[in-house]
């Protein structure tokens, strides 16, 4: 049984599109990335999974159960939303104790340990906290019951780089202990660093579901060339070449396809420089999300 199972999930907001016919699953122990630009439908998917919103059609289950029909399943889930809001009149420790009271287990030591790791003052009032510190409260309240599934929606917004590193170390530790992680983000470096598989979502539809390694292997490569004399424009028409750009005697382009065919094409040109750069996810991302671009 998959920890997360989404089957043909569609959610419309009146006439507005949320997600359309989305299907994927996340297996136990996996760190799964969920990438898309703002408004692509990532939060809609997560909120449907958590039972906060109801699907128009299809299903979204956690541990084989729908959270809206079986809220007990949420006992094993920790959720960190992109923006955190709490009762501002409460002290941090009171809020965390209140949160812990829903899980019927003593989380006192765990709260202390997480607060120390994240350098969070438990005695302060929520009202007095900065956005970053509020986010830390969110992290602690998401992890205090040692959930089997951790759902993170744009988790690093508001955290400084050092705290981001600490946060990802924490998540990696939880994953090592057996927790499954769903990480939704538009910051691709963190997905690249953390995840084994990734789903790319665009306009509410799943456009790619791959292992990170496969995605990078099959993706476009950025090629930059320096020519002796004039640029050989015949290369621009070669199959697999896109985004052709010329600057004086230099040209650059994106290449997708058999690398041997590219080498054959290049052999006819007289070059002063050649670089083929392994694409990072940013480039893959841009390729998929440039308006009009397709797979």
């Amino acid at each position: 049984m998959s920890v997360i199972e989404i089957q043909h999930l569609t959610k419309n907001y009146g006439k507005a599109r949320g997600v359309v016919d989305l299907s994927f699953s996340v297996e136990k122990g996996e760190v799964f990335g969920f990438i898309g630009p703002n408004g692509a439908g990532k939060s809609t998917t997560i909120r449907t999974l958590l039972g906060l919103i109801h699907p128009t059609s299809g299903s979204a289950t956690l541990f084989g159960k729908s959270a809206s029909k079986n809220p007990e399943v949420l006992r094993s889930v920790g959720y960190l939303p992109s923006e955190v809001f709490y009762d501002e009149g409460m002290k941090v420790i009171d809020l965390l104790r209140y949160s812990a009271s829903f899980y019927r287990k003593d989380c006192t030591a765990r709260i202390q340990q997480l607060a120390e790791t994240l350098d969070l003052d438990l005695k302060r009032k929520i009202d007095d906290l900065s956005f970053g510190n509020c986010k830390k409260v969110g992290i602690v309240q998401g992890l205090l019951h040692e959930p089997e599934l951790i759902i993170l929606d744009e988790p690093t917004a508001g955290l400084d780089p050092l705290m981001q590193q600490t946060f990802f170390e924490l998540i990696a530790q939880e994953n090592k202990k057996g927790a499954t992680v769903l990480l939704s983000s538009h910051i691709l470096a963190e997905v690249q660093k953390m995840c084994q598989r990734v789903a790319l979502i665009k306009d509410g539809r799943l456009i790619q579901l791959e292992k990170i390694s496969t995605l990078k292997a099959n993706a476009v490569k950025r090629v930059s060339l320096g020519f002796q004399g004039a640029v050989n424009t015949a290369l621009a028409t070669q199959a697999g070449v896109s985004s052709w750009a010329v600057n004086g005697s230099e040209a650059s382009f994106l290449y997708r396809g058999d690398i041997n065919l590219l080498v054959q094409g290049l052999s006819k040109a007289s070059l002063t420089n050649l670089s083929v750069v392994e694409p990072d996810l940013e480039e893959i991302f841009l390729h998929y999300y440039t308006p009009g671009a397709s797979r």
Partner: protein, 266 residues
């Protein structure tokens, strides 16, 4: 249970203030009773000079204003108005709080069913209203006992118990109305204008109709005829049924809408 206690705790400070307001209102008016009873004819003439609509709005009945139960019905009109504001405020705010404060993501992702969540929240308001009214009943009972001792006229205590229960009934009806109105908004930014508008709007409607008109069912403030309760020492069954129906309407709507509603980010 944790959720219910949390909600009760969050309403406790305002409940103490409301209980004090209700007791102070009863105290302030009832200290006047000895004077009014002594000079009954003058006061009856003064009240008789008011237009009928104003007499209704003030809860005054000329014939009985000089008796303690009759005078208390007038006092209770104001106490009920204040109690209704407390209850309506609670009704408008209790289920809209999460979408207003952005805390829905926190609460609704906990392992609690929405049915359990609504039940805990409604239960918390019920407890707070019962506690407020219990404090008010004890304090007003002591004040009434004092007023009876000083005037020398003793009335059936059951009258005052029944009259005080109408406070709770009106509060529950207004709570239910507040709940129902709050459900119409996807995100209710400000509670007080809605609850005050609802209370004073319905109070005004009540002031314009007589208790024997069918139109009285438009205003929870007119469901119970305090003078008839005083005379018969009993509730009218149609009033009780109508009150129960109105309370049930808001409560059922709260469950139905909350169970189906999508919860969005603030």
């Amino acid at each position: 249970m944790n959720l219910l206690l949390h909600e009760v705790r969050s309403m406790l400070a305002s409940a103490v203030i409301w209980a004090a307001v209700l007791c102070a209102l009863a105290g302030l008016y009832l200290v006047l009773f000895a004077e009014i009873a002594r000079d009954a004819d003058t006061f009856k003439r003064i009240f008789a000079a008011y237009p009928v609509a104003i007499q209704h709005a003030l809860g005054v009945t000329i014939d009985s204003v000089a008796s303690l139960p009759g005078f208390y019905t007038m006092v209770l009109t104001f106490v009920t108005l204040a109690g209704a504001i407390q209850a309506t405020n609670a009704g408008v705010s209790i289920l809209s709080k999460e979408s207003r404060d952005g805390t829905a993501d926190f609460l609704y992702t906990k392992p609690v069913s929405r049915f359990g969540l609504v039940s805990a929240k409604l239960g918390a308001v019920l407890l707070v209203l019962l506690a407020t009214d219990a404090v008010y009943s004890v304090v007003s009972g002591l004040i009434l006992a004092g007023a009876q001792a000083s005037s020398g006229v003793v009335s059936d205590p059951a009258i005052f118990v029944l009259l005080n229960l109408t406070l709770l009934a009106v509060q529950l009806m207004m709570f239910s109305m507040g709940l129902a109105v709050s459900l119409l908004f996807r995100r209710l930014q400000s509670v007080l204008p809605v609850s005050l508008g609802l209370v004073f709007g319905l109070y005004l409607v009540g002031a314009l109709v007589n208790t024997d008109e069918a139109a009285r069912w438009l205003s929870p403030f007119k469901y119970f005829d305090l003078h008839e309760i005083t005379a018969k020492v009993a509730f009218q069954s149609d009033s009780l049924l109508a009150a129960l129906a109105l309370i049930a309407f808001g409560v059922v709507a709260a469950y139905v809408v909350t169970l189906r509603r999508d919860l969005h980010v603030r």
